[in-house]
Subunit: 274 residues, 2 copies
Amino acid sequence: MDINKQNHPFDTATQLNRKSGIYYGHTSERYANMVGPFGGVIAATLLRAVMEHPERKGEPVALTINYAAPVSDGDFNIKATPARTNRSTQHWFIKLCQDKGIIITGTAVFAIRRETWSSTEMKFPHVPNVEEVKSFPSEGMPPWVHNYDMKFVQGPLLAISQPSTKDTSDSVTLQWIRDEPRRPIDFLSLAAMCDAFFPRIYVRRKQMVPIGTVSLTIYFHIDSEALTEHGYKEVLGHARALQFRDGFFDQTAEMWSPEGELLATTSQLVYYKE
Amino acid sequence: MDINKQNHPFDTATQLNRKSGIYYGHTSERYANMVGPFGGVIAATLLRAVMEHPERKGEPVALTINYAAPVSDGDFNIKATPARTNRSTQHWFIKLCQDKGIIITGTAVFAIRRETWSSTEMKFPHVPNVEEVKSFPSEGMPPWVHNYDMKFVQGPLLAISQPSTKDTSDSVTLQWIRDEPRRPIDFLSLAAMCDAFFPRIYVRRKQMVPIGTVSLTIYFHIDSEALTEHGYKEVLGHARALQFRDGFFDQTAEMWSPEGELLATTSQLVYYKE
């Protein structure tokens, strides 16, 4: 799949211009969050810098992005450095800088996959088909949300459907998600969707508190051929937190195709203020 | 906890000498694996380089280590670079080099924690007390295994206790683990224990195939005070794979104290050859 051929707000938002080995980009108003840009689109932009690098070999299998400081609206530049290239794997250091220095650090592992014995051990969740679930109304939400069609099966933002003032439920979310307007999936949009869950603490506590993702890791379990087959279809995201403790909570999630293919698994550590 | 005060083979194995800002170390025969050193002790050594760095602020909350090439037995050097220091968080790039260039890439996030509303959502597994479980016999195992007392509650290496020639079971492991001889836990030994599960594919397929961890991520959920309280006690590790596909599988795990404190959560992506 040639990522340059897509013509969607997402592609504009992650667009980079290479000059002397540095990738220059600009935050997109359409993917703005409450403050600064949506972190998922920024993670996708760092991945794109590697994808477009002339020395890139293979396809992404692991990506870690650490949000060291808030990304300001405006220009940024990304430097992707191949740390080591092997026969079938390649390792990258990545950093995103703005005027105030390094804003994001990251690493990526790319690989050339070969067919082997395979098995999906995790069970596909019991969910209604995507057509049977209502879209989440994005009115009043930050701009980035309007670029997704989200359908909550369980655990919506602030758990509105399970009104309760008590803090007794869990933080599990099950959501169908796709780009709005539709766009054929690729590694970049899948990476962004991995970060498109509302913060677990909002779901769990049914209130908003200041939060910020500190570190995001994504394991891609499929190749570009599987993504091409997936095309315009929705992805089922299943996320939960295992622990909230002293200012940090984790989130782990699986990203499924409607046919039960496990496309990606992801985890993140999120800072929160009580 | 002053990590320099411990006097254990683990401390010798992770020992570093700083010269002109570079940390020099040497692989330990006692922590050798079948080929090269045990990856967990190497991850701990990279973390130690940050812990001992004079500019280090706070305690580790997130660590990602990417194994770009096999570590050869012998000398290595580690460079830990503070990418950004904020008021309460600090971000690091880390790399380990040998003669053949960059062998490992990594990033770490350190933070100063504050007490907040907290909640452990994951349930502590139903397990027998550590005294009621037999130690795994380490005879015939690679040297590193002899430095741990492992007690399998479920899913031992090659799933010996559930003999079956069929490939029908799951890859879940529940194991009590501690350093042998006993050593008070710290972030370094906890990091190593996060990688001390036998590869999921051995458990699942009841056979050994060539494997290698490609990327390892650890989220530390506790501070050094909690670890000091934990002291010499065992840790309960709970690991599983969600998917094996085309040469890579994931492993996610939780690390618990016997009292049900969630100390760390970890994930890794592992290369395998059929």
